[in-house]
Symmetry: C2
Subunit: 99 residues, 2 copies
Amino acid sequence: MIFEHALITVQPDSQVEFEAAITKAREVMSAAPGFCSFALHRGIETPDCYLLLVGWETVEAHTEGFRQSPAFGEWRSHISPFFASPPEVDHYDPIAGLS
Amino acid sequence: MIFEHALITVQPDSQVEFEAAITKAREVMSAAPGFCSFALHRGIETPDCYLLLVGWETVEAHTEGFRQSPAFGEWRSHISPFFASPPEVDHYDPIAGLS
């Protein structure tokens, strides 16, 4: 399993609505082939910034499978109205013995 | 529990040595009061960038307890020789029901 690591900055004072929206959006993502886990965290120093960590079986399950499926549009339609800027997304590999 | 979120960029071709060094450094950190968990991940798009997630009981356990203790100097002495730039460190709060 690898992790999608996304930093999402939302518009000021939209946190409650964003969290409700991503709760619905998670249902869409979690049905995707290769999806493994989902964890959302709120910034302490920057409360309008969220850290999203999604476990996928492979990078391709995210970038080719999910992102190129109709479900991606549905996922984004829930959450993109709250974005203050495009999310910063990359991928990380857990290091055996250190994670 | 909250998470320390650190993005650490190391010097080119120093990954093997850095990973050995942080394996030793983890022993120092994991003995600190309030330490909960440790996970290191290697960047897939950027293999010289690491994502470190450390669980602490509180932000203060990290910023006041650990960082102001002699153990912090020991932790940093293991890993700082490999830094390409100062790590970017902030803190995140898991969201109940979404993590």
